[in-house]
Each structure stands twice: as structure tokens, then as C-alpha cells.
Symmetry: C2
Subunit: 292 residues, 2 copies
């Protein structure tokens, strides 16, 4: 069995690393706050003092951190993966970051004979815990074929999307869909509420047809109940929308709706909803409608 | 069995009237172009020379025309239903029209002792043919209870939404969801295309998760294939969005996304796509992205 490393044990990374360990692999781990690794270390994972230390000896190096600068630091920093990575090793980055930066870092690693796969995930903390994530992968096809059996331990839908960056771009497509469909649901329910409709009856009447979506079925009832607990946090949605708008500008794609929802989420953050779930967009639109 | 009348035998009304006739009811029919009634007349429906003539003797009068002025003419015009409608009769309006105008017309009919139910449908021509429509009903609850067994001949999901106008308002909620979710799909696929992704692979990678919707699953592939044949026509979507924005203004609900999609559909109409399906929004956004 190949030797693995996992860097970044946050709410997503920790359960994903646990699945790989559970499948019987040797696992070297590093994360900024060592205490987060305790449970894995008790189960036999080996603590490492830096990304470079973790990558040493590993045939596959998994990374799951937050944003582009974090990945750059893990991969190319002074104690980064690039310092020790084995020739032929595959680095799998599960973070959602800039497609352009991904391509640059893939090039840097290739100079050391290693492959970088961009492999952002969707499905949230629940998907990570239940190993039902969707994994969208870009990079070298052979490297993907070698990594795929390992990805099946953490995800249900594993898609090879194309060359380096294609996984990140596909994740950004996902985020455009998620956020603009959320806006559709929020605005529709504000209209319903301002016009005196029973919101639960309204959702039931329309959810089964052409108006239906995951966002309506899952976030609609939370909006009605005022349940703002995060499935996916507005602060993270905003980070992803910044990546969308940046890539859109670079590719000369005009994104009026993604741009609008980004602005409305900025209003949500200003109103203190950054750490709430994306369904708080409803709350913000409702307040907007109530200003007079 | 109650005697029925059906007024308006267009692409929606004709199959709906056929289901009521097929269930064994006596059916009096009127529509502007008599030839459209031929098939029903051969099956035993009785031709009438005006809405007033059709409504005479009928316990339930169904109406399925296009816009608010059409319904007003059918119900309150010189040869309108109001001239002959029986006391206690139930008028069921399947058209999608102004909620405020619906309430006014319900009042006019109530002066003659008749009930108006607003009962707009969703599900398109296919839903009408297969009797799988969603029917959203507003008006007097007892009148709804009397009409419901008949509505079950034309629809699958029959929802009582509240007092007069509530069916129309629920349909407008449906149209906000349908049109803004369509915008989400169009914009996401333009982003994907401009960034060189394989569109079918992209849809497969994301459709099963939080990004999923009826619009993505059903219109996404048509966008990819350039199939602009109408399931629902942009000209009709625009009529409904005008009703949305009008009702939103009256109820002081702010609708930034519905407003945006209305403007983009206006661009689509200007580019000659008015009679195309709503998936032509993708084509328009793609052209927008290609202007330089």
C-alpha cells in the first residue's frame, strides 16, 4: 500500500484523512494546530513538524487548507512540500483556490518530477464525514488514474475534468450555480412573505416542478424557520465568489448574477452574517425589503 | 355529474379540456379560433358562440387564456361569463395573470353569486398533455373543495394556497425560481465554456449535489446542444416577470435578481429569441461575453 501524507486537518480535512487512515494506509500528518491531529495520532498516524517533513517518503500528498496563499505556503514555502517531495509523487490539493495559481504551482512541482492534481470537493462537512463528497479533478490523466482509488475513500462522485486547473474551474461553476440558485430561493421567498403567502405551503406547491432545486429543498425550510446555522458559511462562499469573478474577468466572461449575489453577500457580511450559513441571504433580502 | 364549460383551447387549454371530456363530463366550449375545437367537438363537446353562451348552464367554468386583459374580456366583457353565470357556479381561471386584477374580478363575480378561483398551472405543454400539472389555487375554500375532484383530472399536485390571488402569487413565486435558477445555469455554463471545460462533463460533475436543479438537469443539456425549441417561451416568461415586478412593487418587495433576468430576457427578445425556449438565455449571455 502506498505511503500517504495529509496536510490541513480542518473541518473538511480531518474526516477525509480519517477515511484514508481507516482504509489501512500509513499516514503522515501536519496541520497548524497540533491538537487537531490528536485523534488521528491515537489511531496510528505519524506527526510531522512541517509540510516538507510530511511529504518526505509519501507517494501521495493530500492538502486541504483554505485559500490560495495557504496552498502556496504549504507547497512552495520555506518548509514546503516542494523541498522534499519524491520524484513521481502525486500531490492532491482538495482546497478551493485560484485556477491560474494552481497551474503555476503545478509547473513548479513538475520541475521536481512531482504531479499536482487540483481536486476541490463539494458536499460540505457532512459529505466529508460520510465520504460522499463530489471531487472535481484537474491535472495529468495518469496521475489521476493512480490517485483515483484513494479518492474513492473520501468521495462518491469522482470526475476527471481536464488539465491542471480544470478541477478548480469546475468547482467555480458549482459555486456560481449554488450561490445564484440560493439567490433565486431567497428572493422568491421574500416575495412570498411580503405578499402574505404561507411559506411552507408555497415551497411544497412548487418544489416538485421546474422551480425545484437542492437549494430550495434544503435551504428553503431553514429560511422559513430562521435557522441560520452554517451548512456552508457566507465568508467561505464570498472567498469562492471572489475566485469566480477573478477567473471570469481573466477569461472575459460576463457574470451579472454572480456579481450581484457577491454584492448581496457583502451586505450580509456587513450585517454580521459572515459566519452564518448561506441561507442568511434570505434574512438580508427581507431586511432590505423592510427598510422604509 | 356537473355540467362544465371550457373557454380557451390553446396549447394548454386544449389537452386540459380533453381530460375533462374524457372523464365523462358534458363540456361546452368556446375559443377565439373555432377550428381549434374540432377534435373536442367530434368527441361530443358542444360549441358555444361566446364565453357567455358557454357559461350558461355550467356549474364549473374553466378559463385558460394568456394575459390579464384576455381574462377580463372573457369574464367581464360584453359577451362575458358574468352575463350568464349561474348562482353558486365556480369559475376556475388557469391563466397566469395579475393577482390584484384577479381579486377585483373575483369581487365582480361574487356580486352575481359566483366564485372565482385563480388556479394557474405549471408543467408546460407536456404536463397538460399527461395531466401532471401543478395547480396552485386561490379563492374561497368551499369552492376549492368542490372543484378539486375536477382539478385532479388535469393535474398531479393540487395545492390550496389561500384567499383570492394566492394561487397567482404562488405561480409568480414559481416564476421567480424558474427564471433566476435558469440564469444561474446559463451563467455557470458560459463561465465553463469560456474557460474551456467540457460542458457535459461539468454538468455531470455538479448536478447531483448542492448545485443541482430541474433547470440544470433539463435545460443545461439543451444549452450545450444549442437546442432552442421552446418548452417554455421567452415571450411568455417575460409576461410573467412583468407580473412579478408589478406585484413586487405593490408589495414593496425588492427583486434585484428577477429584475436582472427580466432585463437579460429583454436582450434575448431584441436578438430575436422571443419565440425560443428560455434556455436561449445561455446563447444571449454567451454572445454578450463574445462582444469585443
Amino acid at each position: 500500500m502506498p505511503s500517504l501524507a495529509f496536510i490541513g486537518l480542518g473541518i473538511m480535512g480531518l474526516p477525509m484523512a480519517g477515511h484514508l487512515l481507516g482504509a489501512g494506509h500509513q499516514l503522515r500528518v501536519f496541520t497548524r494546530t497540533k491538537a487537531k491531529a490528536d485523534a488521528l495520532l491515537r489511531r496510528g498516524a505519524r506527526w510531522c513538524e512541517s509540510p516538507a517533513d510530511a511529504a518526505r517518503e509519501a507517494e501521495f500528498v493530500f492538502v486541504c487548507v483554505t485559500d490560495t496563499p495557504d496552498v502556496r505556503d504549504v507547497l512552495l514555502g520555506d518548509a514546503g512540500v516542494v523541498k522534499t517531495v519524491k520524484r513521481g509523487a502525486v500531490v492532491v490539493d482538495h482546497s478551493t483556490i485560484s485556477p491560474a495559481a494552481t497551474r503555476e504551482m503545478a509547473h513548479e512541482l513538475s520541475l521536481r518530477g512531482a504531479h499536482l492534481l487540483d481536486a476541490p470537493v463539494s458536499g460540505g462537512q457532512g459529505g466529508a464525514q460520510q465520504a460522499t463528497l463530489a471531487v472535481m479533478v484537474g491535472g495529468d490523466r495518469d496521475a489521476f488514474d493512480r490517485a483515483e482509488p484513494l479518492l474513492r475513500h473520501v468521495g462518491k462522485t469522482i470526475t476527471y475534468c481536464g488539465p491542471s486547473g480544470a478541477g478548480q474551474l469546475t468547482k467555480l461553476v458549482n459555486q456560481i450555480l449554488v450561490s445564484v440558485t440560493n439567490l433565486a430561493v431567497s428572493e422568491a421567498l421574500v416575495f412570498a412573505k411580503k405578499n402574505g403567502l404561507n411559506l411552507k405551503t408555497t415551497i411544497d406547491a412548487v418544489a416538485g416542478g421546474a422551480a425545484g432545486s437542492w437549494q430550495l429543498a434544503n435551504l428553503g425550510p431553514k429560511m422559513v424557520d430562521g435557522d441560520l446555522r452554517p451548512g456552508f458559511m457566507i465568508d467561505l462562499q464570498q472567498k469562492d465568489l471572489r475566485l469566480v469573478l477573478q477567473s471570469a474577468e481573466q477569461s472575459q466572461a460576463s457574470m451579472p448574477a454572480a456579481s450581484l449575489v457577491h454584492q448581496l453577500f457583502t451586505a450580509a457580511q456587513a450585517a454580521g452574517h459572515g459566519k452564518d450559513g448561506t441561507q442568511a441571504l434570505f434574512t438580508v433580502l427581507e431586511k432590505l425589503a423592510a427598510i422604509h
